[in-house]
Every structure is written in C-alpha cells, then in structure tokens.
C-alpha cells in the first residue's frame, strides 16, 4: 500500500465508512515507516455523514483529521473553503494519509487543486463500488461512474473496492453477487480488485471464504437509531 490512499466513489458507496475503518485499522497496527496517520476529509459536496463527524474517535486513536476551515468550530457548512493545513499530511513523508472525497465525479473535483501531490508514485486512487446502489446496479453503470471520476481527476483509478451492501440488510449472497460484478468490472477496465468488504458483526467471513481478499468494515458512521 502506498503512502497516500485517495478514496473515491459514488454517493453512498461507503467511501467514508471505508476511510474511517481503514484509519482505525492502521492506527492499531504500528508502522515504522509512517509514524503519523491522518484522514483528510475533502467532502465539500455533502454536509451529513462526513468523516469529520468522527473527529473525536479518530483523535482518540492518534489519527489527525483535516477538513475545512470551519472544522475546529463545529460548523456544518458545505463550503469548499479548505484549510491550508491539510497540505501538511500530503507533504509529510512520514504520514500515512487517507483522503476521503465527496461522492461522484462532482465530489471528487475538489482534489484537483492538490494535483501536484499526485504526480509521483506514492499514492493510490481507490474507487469504491456498491452494486446495490440504484445508479450502479450494473457493471456498465459502475464503469461509467469510475470513468467519470478518472476524467474529472485526470488520474487513473489504481484499484477497485467491492463494497456491495444494503446496510443492515446485507447478506453474504448480496456481497457475493456484488463480487461477481466487481470481478467483471475489474476485467473490463483492467483495474485490480483490491478487496471485498463485509460488515463486521453482521456477515460472517466464513460465509465468504471463497472470496479474497476480504476486508471487515466496522460501522462507525451510522447511529444505531437509524436502524430502528
């Protein structure tokens, strides 16, 4: 895995859940090459369910969180007024950095102003796909979305993450059905399928033993009452 991981994808594909989950996992695994760990929340498209809502959790696990200029004031505006400070983790070679973009090509656009940090080799661009999202139910539709993100960012997507899910109604069958489509998408686009996610505690990895690699996702973003 490269130093900077940029997570892009359709609205609701699970980018933020993946970004927060990945940060939590990395914080538990000490890596000598990267003594520092940061999440850069670049979601300026949507004022709800952003990784900055979990700022305290991340800080408690020694993950720095960078977002817009209002971040420290708890303001919930959807303004593309980014703090210059968020360049620090992008420049710091000792900092493993996860960049959480907003949804779709429109939400990814904000990254272009930082393109000078993405000229070298030390980054990856992941596209998260959920084949149960209404607008990406087919391989063709998912491909259009991934291509739109690449066009917008003028950067190749380096890996796909299958996060096919229906929140708490996710089953092993739904994940497997998404996995089959993700493999097809990966073949069609020539982009490796890096992982298939499953919601930890909801679906057992044994039920997905034929799928590799698997990645458990802790559900950090969704308050429990939303499933009542």
């Amino acid at each position: 895995m490269q130093r900077i991981i940029v997570v892009a994808g359709h609205y609701g594909s699970g980018k933020t859940e993946l970004a927060v989950s990945l940060a939590m996992d990395l914080s538990a695994r000490k890596d000598r090459a990267y003594p520092r760990l940061a999440v850069v929340d670049l979601d300026v498209a949507n004022p709800y369910f952003r990784s900055r809502e979990r700022m305290q959790l991340l800080r408690d696990h020694h993950v720095s969180l960078y977002a817009d200029v209002f971040n420290s004031t708890g303001t919930t505006a959807e303004l593309p007024a980014l703090t210059a400070a968020l360049r620090a983790p992008l420049e710091d070679e000792g900092c493993r950095t996860i960049v959480d973009l907003g949804g779709n090509d429109a939400g990814a656009r904000v990254l272009k102003q930082f393109s000078k940090y993405f000229q070298g080799e030390d980054h990856e661009l992941w596209a998260v796909v959920n084949f149960r999202r209404y607008e990406t139910l087919t391989v063709e539709n998912a491909r259009e979305h991934v291509e739109a993100i690449q066009r917008e960012l003028e950067m190749p997507v380096t890996g796909l993450v299958n996060n096919t899910h229906l929140l708490r109604e996710t089953t092993a069958e739904i994940i497997r059905e998404g996995y089959e489509k993700a493999k097809q998408l990966s073949r069609n686009m020539g982009i490796p399928l890096l992982a298939t996610c499953y919601p930890a505690g909801l679906v057992s990895p044994e039920a997905l033993a034929d799928i590799a690699p698997l990645r458990p996702l802790g559900l950090y973003m969704r308050p429990a009452y939303l499933d009542k």
């Binding site: 709800y48 369910f49 505006a77 959807e78 139910l137 229906l166 429990a224 009452y225 009542k228």
Partner: protein, 364 residues
C-alpha cells in the same frame, strides 16, 4: 415492483418515487439538505417526457406550480424550511383555487436561515399554514425512506383526488441518510390530450371558434363576500371529509406502557431505541407515531392503556410544537411532557429514555 431492494439516499428516493407516482413537472431552487431532489429531477425528468425548471427563487417555483397545476399538470415541488416559508403565500392561493400539488419539506433547524442539520420546527408552519385565510393542507410525516417513497408515490393521486396541495414533511436526516428501498412500478400518466377530459376543471385552453366545452376558471379572487363565504364553507366541507379519511398513525407497545412517547419522523426512530433502553431498565414504554400531522390522528390516543399509562412525552426536534396537538388530543386525560433538542441537534436515545424516567419519577 423492482424485485430487489436497492440502496438509495433519501432525497434521490423521494425524487424517483415522485416520478414513478406520476409527477412530470418540477420547479425548484436548490437548498440544503434537499438539493439532491432538484439535481435528480433535472437529470431524470426529461428522460420520461417531463420538465424541470430551476426557478429564480422559491417564490417563482410555487407560482410556476400554481400555473402548471391549474393547467392540469402533475407537479412536484420540494424545498427546505426557509424555502417552504417563502412558498406560503402560494400555498394559500393553491388551496383557495383548489389546484393539486405534491410538495415536500426536507426540514432543517430554524428560525430564520437557521442551519442545515435536521429539524422539525416547521410543524406549525406545515400544519397551521403560514399563508393567509382559512385553509388546510394534508401533511404526512414519514419515518423511513421506504415510507416516504410510498407516500410520495401515492401523493400525486391524492393531490388530484382532493384538489389540494399535499405536503410530505420530513427532515434532513431522512433526506441525507441511506436506506434499502423497494421502488414501486411506474404509474401510467395522462397524455396531454387526455388532461382536459380527465381533469374536468383544468384550464387546458378554450377554443373560442366553436370549442365543445364551457370556459373553465381557476381563481382565488372572490369579490362578493357571500360568494367567498360559500366557497370557504365548501372548502371546509372537503377538509372535514379529509379529517375523517386521511388520519394515519401507527402505535407500538401501548399495552401496559407506563409512559407513551408521541413522535414522528426521525424522532420516532430515536424513541424506538429509547423504548428498548427503558425496557432493559424495567420501564415499559410505548409509542404513538402520527403519520398524518394534519389531520392529527386524535383517535390514536384512544388506544392508550389508561390503567397503566401515567404520562405522555412528546419527542420533537423543536421547542415543542406538536405537543399542542398532543394536548388537544388528550384533552386533559393525561399529563404531557416534552423531550426535545432544537437548532439541528438530535437527541440521543439514552437522553430521551432518561427524560421519560425523570418524568415518571416526578409524578411519584
């Protein structure tokens, strides 16, 4: 029915459900937290032969809706709290002129421009009306995306049946969250040539060179007080029927409940978790969830277990607005208390549970 469930964001699902239910005209202006609705409509309506217009303001949007509705179009509009406030004059006109409209408020914290996090402080606005004169708008408050989909799918037909605006009142949390939904099939829509026949009041164009029908007039101006009084009496005969036919609610766990929550939308979901927390602490609690806010489901309160229930708690994302209707429905039969946060803050389930416990303690 789409056989499989799909994952949708509330706002996208609302827009798709309105289209599938027959809405073909949308006029609006973006405002958080519902901007995905106009975004979706601008992209999807032209594909089904519909029309999207971004109005210059919410005032423009509601008056476009008035005109298009008067011409027999199936119109859907949506906005969020301050935007709906701007539309109130138009709502009064539409009610007076009996023009159908499906409207949606994805509400946020107020007053004024307020904030962009979820709120329910437009309860008075949507149930009492901010416009002038004697009128009512049936208001439905879904607590899940699926329920919102079902209400919006039904909404165009309801608006046409009642020849009145129908409001779906939800909040930013339900607009912004994701949920698995089953989308219903597309309803057939009238061809333009069928509108004049099917909607026999709509102003579809009078042919003064020997047309085969009487002139039609859609208006709210009545300069003779006797005529205006008669018109309003007729509207209220319609509203009296609506009060009987449109009251909807769900109740849960009322039998043996020491305390009963009354909550709609997002707050009802929080109360469900609070009920579980209270059960674990040995306190039985129930829930009355109004689905229609006007007409308020007064009958729901007759289901209360009078031998067990000691108090009713109205849980709201406001300083307490629905509580007025809860008190009217109970008519002094039980004490009513408030559990609330406002300004875009959402109470946690333990906070709501704690409030109910404190209420019961206080009554001892």
């Amino acid at each position: 029915m789409t056989t499989d469930k799909v994952l949708m964001k509330g706002n996208e699902a609302f827009a798709e459900a309105a289209i599938r239910g027959g809405a073909r005209l949308y006029f609006g202006y973006p405002i958080t937290p519902q901007s995905e609705v106009p975004e979706y409509m601008s992209r999807e309506l032209p594909k089904v032969g519909g029309c999207f217009i971004q109005a210059e303001s919410e005032l423009g949007a509601i008056n476009m809706a008035y005109g298009a509705g008067a011409a027999g179009g199936s119109v859907f509009i949506s906005s969020s709290s301050p935007g709906i406030a701007l539309m109130q004059e138009g709502m009064s006109f539409l009610c007076s002129a009996e023009v159908p409209l499906l409207a949606m408020n994805v509400s946020r914290g107020g007053p004024g421009i307020g904030g962009i996090q979820p709120g329910q402080a437009d309860y008075y606005q949507v149930t009492r009306g901010g416009g002038n004169g004697d009128y009512h708008i049936p208001v439905f408050a879904p607590s899940s995306i699926q329920e919102a989909v079902d209400l919006l799918y039904e909404g165009t037909e309801l608006a046409q049946t009642w020849r009145n605006p129908i409001m779906v009142f939800t909040d930013g949390m339900i607009g912004q969250m994701m949920e698995p939904v089953k989308l219903p099939d597309y309803k057939p829509v009238l061809k333009p040539s069928e509108i004049a026949g099917q909607r026999n009041w709509a102003c579809t164009g009078y042919d003064d060179r020997g047309g085969d029908r009487e002139r039609r007039v859609v208006k709210s101006l009545r300069m003779q007080p006797e005529k205006l009084e008669e018109h309003v009496e007729n509207l209220f005969a319609k509203y009296a029927r609506a009060e009987k036919e449109l009251a909807r609610w769900e109740s849960e766990n009322l039998k043996g409940a020491e305390v009963v929550f009354v909550a709609f939308g997002t707050t009802a979901r929080i109360c469900r978790e609070a009920i579980e927390i209270l059960a674990a602490q040995g306190v039985k609690a129930g829930l009355i969830r109004p689905i229609s806010l006007w007409p308020f489901p007064n009958k729901a309160f007759d289901e209360i277990d009078w031998s067990a229930t000691k108090a009713v708690v109205s849980a709201e994302l406001s300083m307490g607005q629905m509580i007025t209707d809860v008190q009217l429905a109970l008519n002094g039969r039980l004490p009513v208390f408030l559990a609330h946060r406002t300004g875009g803050m959402v109470p946690t389930s333990p906070e709501v549970a704690q409030r109910a416990k404190a209420v019961l303690e206080g009554l001892k």
